[in-house]
Symmetry: C2
């Protein structure tokens, strides 16, 4: 009787340790993809500060605005911005309708698959590609084109759809913030309609909380059928200093939290940190050559140089992807 | 005993009829400022349709976007747009710093109080006044200037602060929509920071749901003190066809409900009504010379001509202010 009792007690204890405790811990942990470390601690301390009623760093729910860059912050951006890969595919698809592209840069470089000539076109060339491939149709039509591409295109290295190459720890962070009353926004150099085509489904971020580079557009009413037509002109380049400017234009409040990964996010982080009260600035540092990519000061896409120095000087959170992220992508083994 | 019982019953019945029923009716009526009539009926039928789960015209909460013009729709706009009155006061206040304004239109007309010369400047002159008086400072500073003016300026006819000259029935409508899961937006020709200075307090509409005319802006970082400076150039004129374009840029969804009062709202209403499913287009028709103003096809501010014809042809809701609104302003007797 006594032996059997102690056996039962041991079995119960074992069950508790092996099964229940890990389950409870997992249920209670809003950030399972983040290893114990400085970034995870800083995020959780910030959220606790902001949400503690009556605390010295409490922030009203209406002011809990968190802004996220997209390329390199919420999803990967190598070997080049995914939207640029889309634009290159579109140039090839549309080339028969535009014979002049064979002689005109940056299109010529794309059609001749001349990487060097393409790189030489710089940001201007990139914006030209975006303008040409993202316009000449309504936003509804463009959304369809984008979704079709996202459904069929595969990343050259992983063979995965681009929408699966999102960062699992960042998805958890978005959920965690929203569960704590934050409004999560994308503020990205990506073109806004391109990102809106998948942001709700992939990030849980609705179209009205996606801010990006925009094209001029015109309202047309043909025979009582109104439409908004996208024009091949960049209206706003949402990069660098363009980010705080668009935050002011669209949100009209200063964020309390900002997350980026490159020098193009520096001004957004500066603007966020210059406000009063609780503030959080984070940078994703791509340090994981094995599971993702390792790059910073010399990268062509997502260069992180000045912002890295400033983050270190100011004590901003720099996420060491290789050390701090348990998983990179949702499809990685847990 | 019997008499006393019946007396008690009578007293109870009387109390019920005189006190409780009206109170209950009032508590149950979300739109007490709207008289029984076609507009009230159309609004309530639309909201019931949209919110009836499983109904043929049900709309998901995320898609319940309602957009409102401001001048003449949510508050009065006579004898001229209130923001223009602000700009005129600012020109006078700032004139000593701008001696050249004495010889330069439209400033000259303002400083000489020459109404005719001012009117001759048209929309271009108006935009010049807005650009000059709304720029040269940060948005924080401009918000302060606006709030100071709103706190001290009084309307020439009512002697009331401008923020009291808002339409009580429209305040009720905004509340009613929000209680039914709608997201309420302002989409107005007014400059966005001017409106954001009072929209939350007066309309319950947060800054990120205020869309309007915008100025160019620049991010500056002086000695580690970043600021966003407003430039004297109109970036977007949010009037007429500019309204559906800004709705697309900011919200990225087509509204299901739109309310305006002038030809400048026509394209916003057309764009809203061209969508699928339940739709509502409303126009406030200023028909009340006694309590507010009566004007439409020939008014200099808030002209309602083409849109009135289209509303009548399409069966859109046209609110007859004089007949359908029990109260105009919150300060009117109930």
């Amino acid at each position: 009787m006594r032996q059997s009792n102690s056996g039962l007690r041991f079995a119960r204890a074992l069950w508790c340790v092996l099964i229940v405790l890990p389950l409870l811990a997992q249920a209670a942990d809003p950030l399972p993809g983040w290893r114990e470390g400085p970034s995870r601690m800083a995020i959780m301390a910030f959220v606790e500060d902001v949400t503690t009623d009556g605390g010295p760093r409490h922030v009203e729910p209406a002011e809990r605005i968190a802004v996220f860059d997209n390329d390199g912050t919420l999803w990967s951006e190598q070997p080049m911005y995914f939207e640029l890969l889309f634009a290159l595919d579109e140039v090839r698809r549309l080339a028969p309708e535009h014979p002049q592209w064979r002689e005109e840069q940056p299109f010529k470089a794309v059609l001749e698959n001349d990487q060097q000539a393409l790189a030489a076109q710089g940001m201007d060339g990139l914006l030209k590609l975006v303008a040409a491939t993202h316009s000449g149709m309504s936003t509804e039509q463009f959304t369809e084109v984008t979704r079709k591409w996202l459904a069929s295109a595969r990343h050259p290295r992983t063979g995965r759809p681009y929408t699966e190459m999102v960062f699992q720890p960042m998805l958890e962070l978005l959920d965690y913030l929203r569960a704590n009353g934050f409004k999560t926004y994308i503020v990205s150099g990506g073109e806004v309609a391109f990102m809106r085509a998948f942001a709700q489904e992939v990030y849980g971020i609705p179209p009205e909380q996606v801010i990006g580079t925009t094209l001029d557009a015109t309202f047309e009413d043909q025979a009582g059928k109104p439409s908004i037509q996208r024009l091949p002109r960049i209206a706003h380049n949402d990069d660098g200093p363009g980010k705080p400017v668009s935050i002011e234009a669209f949100i009209g409040r200063r964020p309390v939290m900002a997350f980026g990964n490159s020098d193009g996010d520096l001004q957004m982080l500066q603007w966020t940190m210059a406000g009063q009260g609780a503030r959080f600035a984070g940078l994703v540092h791509h340090t994981d050559q094995r599971r993702e990519w390792a790059y910073d000061r010399k990268s062509h896409f997502g260069r992180l140089d000045v912002a890295l120095d400033q983050a270190q000087a100011q004590g901003w959170t720099v996420v060491d992807m290789a050390r701090e992220w348990r998983r990179i992508y949702p499809f990685d083994a847990q």
